[in-house]
Subunit: 356 residues, 3 copies
């Protein structure tokens, strides 16, 4: 179940260098991502219109791609311009081209109706390129449905258990109740955990003595993009006082490769000690270690679900956000199937009161 | 095709130590086997009732298990006792618990209706714990239907060919006719092979000069349990004279993991030179070598059957016992489906005259 | 989609030595190929008629095979001659035997109705055994449908792209038009490329200065056999002047293993410097390198087709021969299904004017 009329992250910018022909499957579509000579990113079907050979095994000729099986040549717009041994080129000999937009360091692709591709709908992952923030980019490939990873990101109670020894540190996170607020194309989830022990990860970074307050505040937007402000600071200091706080902004995007595999683009930016590269590296390594903990449990869950096809899931209160988001995905994808989806506005700020 | 209302071997006792959380799939059901603080073995579904994470990745808290995804806690009876972030615990939030019984060194599990679980139905694998017998426990995992392994065990004519250089030694075994006698929940198979050459295995153990008599006498019981008395002794000595005989008792149990994979628990106990550990080890190693011969031919057969789905099997006389047992499995599993199965008595001694 | 009433290459002669029991799956049928004591090759089903064990794991007893699971014995004609523990041998206990013929160094097998097996239909791969030609035999296993490899061999325009740096050397091959002529059981494809640069491969072998003429002339016959005369010689020399020409004859046979895997038997014989073994080896190595280039693109194409089941292929002019051959395969296999196929004559020389 995919929503097609959405911007998906197709790649980090550094994955597509000037001479790269990147083969990447997105929503079951084999796509070729590359750059024109002027540097702009383009995406076309990776399947040659002739006999199906991958164009990513082809040869760049200017901004065009020549298939290296039988020599057909396609422009960056997907049109075929040459068929060896043949004078005319039939118009049907074309491949699909996809709307592409580069923002910060992410290359976004629109997998639905090109007429509806509105760059105003691209989520504002501002910290990807901002002088006040530092990060190191991350990527994971998952052999499972992207919705299981959305579930994980939409219920941070798992920090207390999955990440007990890394990002979590105490059952307080699971015991606290987040506030979940609907957005036009997603949800906002805000969770305050006050007077708790610092996570092992924060203890190392911030040198906290005694209890801390933690805040997680994120928008989770279609098709599967998390944009989070988070901080940890000494307990019992006024909310607006950010002295001694560790401030983070995290951008994470899930792009289904197929119904059973997922691209996961992520980073966690920090706003402190910007000139200390070892901090940036250390945060990246901690995040990777924690995401490996997620992968262990998510893949174990995924294998269990595959092995027990008739098995039920029983909802609990903590499922509120993930249940809402799954419903949203279902509504949008059903609306697309009926070809009646209204185009929501690009804004994704809260428009309603919290629902929890 | 599984019979559910049966005791299956779930594990050797040493596979479930005090702090073990053993994940084991039995009849397609992911099961968690562990021990209470008092040492008694218990088994519950390994799939968390919430989102399907494996409880075997969870944490022991007393006799309970906490799921380490979102922190739900389940008692040894399968009942949920805590849901983090939530005050009440709905009754439906439980996992199934299975009747378990430990006998000798095997932990048995009842996969069917718990109301029908009668420990009197547990086959009497007495030599698993008996001062007159010694053995070393064995386990194999097979990537095939358990019935192909039952077939193998129900026709010892294969000893002449598969085990020609180990347990067999001559075509005499295949040429002899076993007596097959029905039991309430299985079959008895008795085969006498008189005046034959000793198997290479027996020649090494018993130092036989000249011909020997061999006897195999086993019950093969639902769901797939072999209990065998076997001996080899010098030919032309009176039947009741066991001087110079090598006496064995073998317990083997096949537990379907899935329709296409099997747990195989086995041992072959000896009643001679009890204090010579090298004999016990040597018998174990010979058995493992022979079972590897079985595995080679059974897996080759299994792959051949998979590759030729329309292919027929043509019965021969030697198939009598295996055909009977397959019919028994079919009758019991069909009766279960109709929910009309009478509970047979626990006895498994011959009640009829031999049928072959 | 297989044509059954055809001779397929089952093996190179050296794959079946005097004591070999070769298990080889052909058209989804597991076959056992071996030699009688008199050296003649035979082929029977590799699946024991009893319980499906592979006879290739059996034991040679004279010209017969004993299954080493339960001891059944089968003659080279497929008839069962012994069942241990049983006096009579029912007639149904037989395995299928296949017509086999050895020509040159290929062992051919007839997979259809044995009544129709006519050795006159065996393609004339004369250079497999001829004093004027030298070669080294080759074999590849492909994990894809044999028709994708037929496609490759029926359109040499790919030489310009796939083999640009080996057998190709210029876009001239793709730009030239072959002449395609129907044959009773296949096609003849002839392509002249005049005044082109020598391929890297030919430059090394022939030391050509300046432009060359190249000719490819091959029959491509059911079920998937290529028999090709090819040469390269200095440009602007009379057609009949073969001084300074490099002459090749290539025999290649595709035998479907399953619908998704293929045996590929091949060689390319040379008619020059017959006594220089390094030339024979060098040609073989160059061919293997080029066939590895084919494999890369064909397997990439195959995976792409599997990943995009609804995707279309748009025909171009260069598809003429492959489209014709696919139609031929379809016509013959449909005719077989209707059991109404007329037996074409064994000749495979052009009978019509060229169609392109």
């Amino acid at each position: 179940m995919f929503v097609k009329n959405c911007w998906y992250v197709a790649a980090w910018d550094h994955e597509v260098l000037a001479d790269t022909l990147l083969a990447r499957t997105i929503l079951d579509q084999p796509v070729l991502v590359y750059r024109r000579a002027d540097g702009t990113a383009v995406a076309i079907d990776n399947r040659c219109a002739h006999r199906g050979a991958p164009l990513s095994m082809g040869r760049r000729e200017g901004d065009a791609i020549r298939c290296m099986y039988h020599g057909l040549k396609f422009g960056a717009d997907g049109r075929c311009t040459e068929v060896p041994g043949q004078d005319n080129v039939p118009a049907r000999l074309c491949v699909r081209s996809y709307p592409v937009a580069e923002r910060g360091r992410w290359i976004w692709i629109w997998m639905g109706d090109p007429q509806r591709a509105d760059v105003a709908l691209i989520p504002d992952a501002f910290s990807l390129k901002h002088p006040d923030w530092r990060y190191k980019p991350g990527y994971l490939h998952y052999d499972t449905d992207y919705l299981l990873i959305c579930d994980n990101l939409l219920d941070f109670s798992h920090l207390s258990y999955v990440h007990e020894k890394t990002l979590g540190g105490s059952p307080n996170i699971a015991q606290s109740r987040p506030v979940v607020t609907p957005l036009p194309r997603g949800l906002n989830v805000t969770r305050d955990v006050r007077g708790t022990v610092p996570a092992p990860y924060h203890a190392r970074l911030g040198g906290f003595q005694g209890k801390v307050d933690r805040r997680f505040n994120y928008d989770f937007l279609l098709p599967g993009v998390l944009l989070m402000h988070a901080h940890v600071k000494p307990a019992d200091t006024p909310d607006e006082d950010m002295t001694g706080a560790l401030q983070f902004h995290s951008c994470q995007a899930l792009t289904p490769e197929t119904a059973h595999s997922t691209h996961y683009f992520f980073m966690q930016a920090h706003r402190f000690r910007l000139d200390d590269a070892t901090i940036t590296e250390s945060i990246y390594q901690s995040l990777c270690a924690a995401f490996e903990e997620d992968r262990q449990i998510i893949m174990a869950q995924s294998r269990m679900l595959d092995a027990t096809p008739g098995g039920q899931m029983h909802p609990i209160a903590a499922d509120l956000a993930l249940a809402r988001f799954r419903r949203l995905v279902q509504e949008f994808s059903e609306a697309e199937r009926e070809d009646s989806m209204p185009l929501p506005a690009a804004i994704h700020r809260p428009v309603h009161a919290p629902i929890a």
